[in-house]
Symmetry: C2
């Protein structure tokens, strides 16, 4: 007797959707395409999912929750802001290399989330950003960081960390991490 086989099928569909959304963008990806990728007729997809939007929601929220989980663990530790930032670099790379398609869709396609999921997603992001910024401002208070405006610096650094996940496969993870740490902490 198989237990909840639908769970596995659904996961396969979500992963196929992530690959497609990444490649063509959410709006240019059709349910028919996703169905073909997993060997189903278009309408059969709906035995496993409620809607195309649900697929995007699962991808974006799962990834957002990974970031939240990670930053919560990092924030709680009794270490310097500099070490925390180093762990954040590592966290972003963990998530990006673990599942590149999810990471790219999370970065590039979240805006197509329907309400009320969009609000839920944005709240997670706002929470993440706040915790990230606190690490930066703590580091500045301690005299370890010397950026000028914490909002601008935060925006630049978060963008840097989410750098072209697109080209990720071309490089080894350790190389990327070394380079990011070098640039963030010492500059070019």
């Amino acid at each position: 007797m198989r237990i909840k086989p639908k769970i596995d099928r659904k996961r396969i569909i979500i992963m196929a959707a992530a690959d497609l959304f990444r490649e063509k963008g959410y709006n240019a990806s059709s349910v028919r395409d996703i169905a073909a990728m997993v060997g189903l007729e278009p309408s059969s997809i709906y035995s496993h999912i409620k809607s195309k939007e649900e697929l995007l929601a699962e991808i974006c929220l799962e990834t957002a929750n990974k970031f939240m989980l990670g930053i919560n663990i990092i924030s709680k530790q009794d270490i310097s802001a500099k070490k925390m930032l180093k762990l954040l670099v590592s966290l972003h790379l963990d998530i990006a290399f673990e599942n590149p398609s999810f990471a790219i869709v999370y970065i590039d396609e979240w805006r197509y989330l329907p309400e009320p999921i969009l609000s839920e997603f944005l709240n997670l992001r706002k929470d993440y950003d706040k915790k990230f910024k606190k690490i930066l401002t703590d580091g500045k208070s301690d005299g370890k960081f010397s950026f000028l405006n914490s909002d601008i610096a935060f925006n630049i650094i978060i963008k840097t960390l989410n750098w072209s996940f697109t080209n990720l496969k071309k490089f080894r993870r350790e190389e990327v991490e070394e380079e990011l740490n070098h640039l963030i902490f010492n500059g070019i």
Copy 2:
């Protein structure tokens, strides 16, 4: 007698399209929406443009050409790599602040360009990237830059420069430029 009034109308349509593409993404933006923005019936748009794709092409190629023009001027000067990189920071901010919608569409929506325009666009980008990378490697040869891998460093820095053009309006240009220069040259 009015001379070539269509040029102005077309420009207005392109700018409206850029605003819409930026806000909703290319695929989620309909010709009907663009027409409504400029006060025309949907079909009347086609008296001014050939297709929706043409609008995207104009936005992306015009912006790509601005970048090419800028880097060609910068590369020709007899100055250090560090000064060149500083001018590149300035170039990216010039283009971003001059027309944020064009800049964002250029960054986020270019992949929806149809062939053969996509290839033309990618060739411009490849040329730009090559010139940008040369400045970085020159700076390293001179011992002024200390990054590790020029491909990775280039990707990170270009991403940093194109940082959330999305939030640009929240900050003053000089502040952003100061912060970028600080982070790129000295680190956090």
